[in-house]
Symmetry: C2
């Protein structure tokens, strides 16, 4: 992959929309910054990326994105520290994962230089859109999809890579209650669950809606064959604390290899917490809930950061989690967000300053 | 569902592109007719459909189709008989299945009147695009997708329903060789395999490419758990003839309930062929291939009609199918296409004349 710096043409908006935004009261991902990065793949190669005003994309009605779901994405966040520097968290890992998703969905891989230089240039142009109040950030959405057309069910010959950004508040508002799934499934063995493929997300909407109708916020997915193992949530990996041990499922071809997940595992271990990556059964979680050994459950993901789970449902029974004095979730969240926002040292080299 | 006839506004093209089309030499789904039907869902309801010149669709970069794969489709064909009447095949079944897919993907269901009147009006406007030479037809692609925007992973609030058409030749050219899959999978138990959801198709591209690289045209999917059962192919259900019995897998939440499949089952039974809908194991197919009892395999689907399979690969072994004098595949294909094109009586009431 070429790492040559890209000389990116920037077409600026005539007038910024930033005055219309109430930065003290942001929802998640519903207001979009002035510009976007666009890069087209055609004639077998990626063309020069450009930064353009955020505006509608025009697509042929037979573009394969509409018909065959050939699309992938990433999710990242930018922060500003007290000196006004723009910070990212492990951005190269998002680039690597995007290309893993690309391989699985037969989308051409994006060169590192287009991804990284496009991203940093876009953040340079729209740096003022990064919220600075606690708990807010600029959510960054790189995505790629099939723009080439045809009704033959085969990969397209043209693609678009786009990065948009959205100043955002918290993903979940309030306490998170989850339902452990016993009927529906998110991913097949040998399927695309480990890829951030668009279709994986729409597939979750219906079971999630059923859970919401029953008073939960999220589904915890289990394996599609036995429903005996806890896998992950809609957009978060899942950690379970039994006694003083933190458990999380190993990643697999059904589970997204979360960047927050692996960072949390590292941070927790370095804080002296025992962490086990092993299969977690629903049965042991239920038994621990009943015996009082289940201390915490939380989700970990870029959008949701660390989201403590207040309770879970399983087969018509509801279980509450205790409210601890100093839970792992809060400790770990503080450590990771302090690193992300430059409030602490970064012994791991995860923070990335945009220059 | 309202069945009131829709009064559909038609905005015609200034100049038809039909002169540029070589109808004697059509590929599959790569040339598009002059018009398309468009209907928008917003403010909680479907708006009035219109017929418009085939032209690019404009979408916000944050439209959920790009990010979360919330899209479904159907595939149908129109034929002209010798009197010049436009004929469809069981179109209401496509409408019903589209709405089943819609329910699973949390897309609002489309009323019968919009689907049927939109379809017939579009065929009225673009009737000249229906090819009349043997083996060609007008392929019809109704599709629905999330046009509403936002990065929250939840259903959109706006959708588009579109119907495009494409004069098309055969889906497969030449003999079809298939690979029985032993690693990858198309669908999870409790997943969306039974829906015509876009993401199901992109998920097949990578394993299919691996099969193509090994000299096959298609993958035959097996269950994701054991890979012991034959399920279906990329866009076709699969029939296997062992001795004089025709076998096909029952439909399930992993398998599309094909309209061609169920029609073939009916036609075959009425022709005195023994048909069994039961699980078909890879082991029995391989054993039958070895013993000589395996007489035929074929795929059945709207695009591929009935596609005889000339051979299959499994675990580094290749098996050829015999060339029979008067195979079921040819008999059944003749019966179904004669019904479709009004070359024979239609005892089932499947043919639908567009007036
Ligand atoms: C299915 C799924 N699991 C887990 C995660 C968490 O991954 P990360 O921590 O890299 O954001 C995400 C979100 O990106 C996701 O979509
Ligand atoms: C996955 C899949 N299986 C089977 C079929 C065959 O269904 P039908 O006969 O209704 O076209 C299709 C095509 O529509 C399909 O996409």
């Amino acid at each position: 992959m070429s790492t040559a710096t890209q000389n990116i043409v920037v077409n600026k908006v005539e007038k910024s929309k930033i005055d219309q935004v109430d930065f003290s009261n942001l929802a998640f991902g519903s207001i979009f910054s002035d510009h976007m990065l666009v890069c087209n793949f055609k004639n077998g190669e990626w063309q020069a990326p450009t930064i353009e005003p955020y505006a509608p994309i025009q697509l042929d009605p037979a573009a394969k994105i509409f018909h065959y779901g050939q699309s992938i994405f990433e999710g990242m966040k930018a922060y500003k520290d007290e000196k006004g520097s723009t910070l990212l968290f492990r951005p190269k890992d998002n680039w690597i994962r995007l290309n893993k998703s690309a391989e699985r969905m037969v989308i051409p891989e994006i060169p590192e230089a287009i991804f990284m230089d496009g991203l940093t240039k876009l953040l340079d142009v729209d740096g003022d859109w990064i919220p600075t109040n606690e708990g807010s950030s600029l959510y960054i959405r790189p995505f790629m999809f099939a723009s080439g057309n045809g009704f033959h069910a085969s990969p397209a010959d043209e693609y678009k890579f786009v990065i948009c950004t959205a100043p955002s508040g918290a993903y979940f508002s309030g306490k998170v209650k989850v339902l452990i799934e016993e009927k529906y499934a998110r991913a097949a063995n040998g399927g695309v669950g480990y890829a951030k493929a668009g279709g994986n997300y729409a597939a979750q909407f219906y079971p999630t809606q059923l859970a919401i109708d029953r008073g939960y916020n999220q589904v915890i997915w289990t394996d599609d064959n036995t429903h005996e193992y806890i896998e992950e949530a809609g957009a978060m990996n899942i950690f379970v604390r039994i006694g003083d041990t933190l458990l999380t499922s190993p990643t697999s071809d059904r589970i997204l290899d979360g960047i927050t997940r692996k960072s949390i595992i590292q941070i927790a271990k370095d804080a002296g917490i025992e962490v086990k990556e092993r299969k977690v059964t629903v049965a042991e979680v239920v038994a621990a809930a009943k015996s009082g050994d289940l201390k915490e459950m939380f989700g970990a993901g870029t959008a949701a950061v660390i989201s403590p789970i207040a309770g879970f449902g399983y087969k018509n029974e509801d279980f509450d989690l205790p409210e601890l004095e100093n839970p792992y979730a809060a400790q770990l969240k503080k450590t990771i967000t302090d690193i992300q926002t430059n409030k602490s040292e970064d012994p791991y080299g995860w923070r990335f300053e945009v220059k």
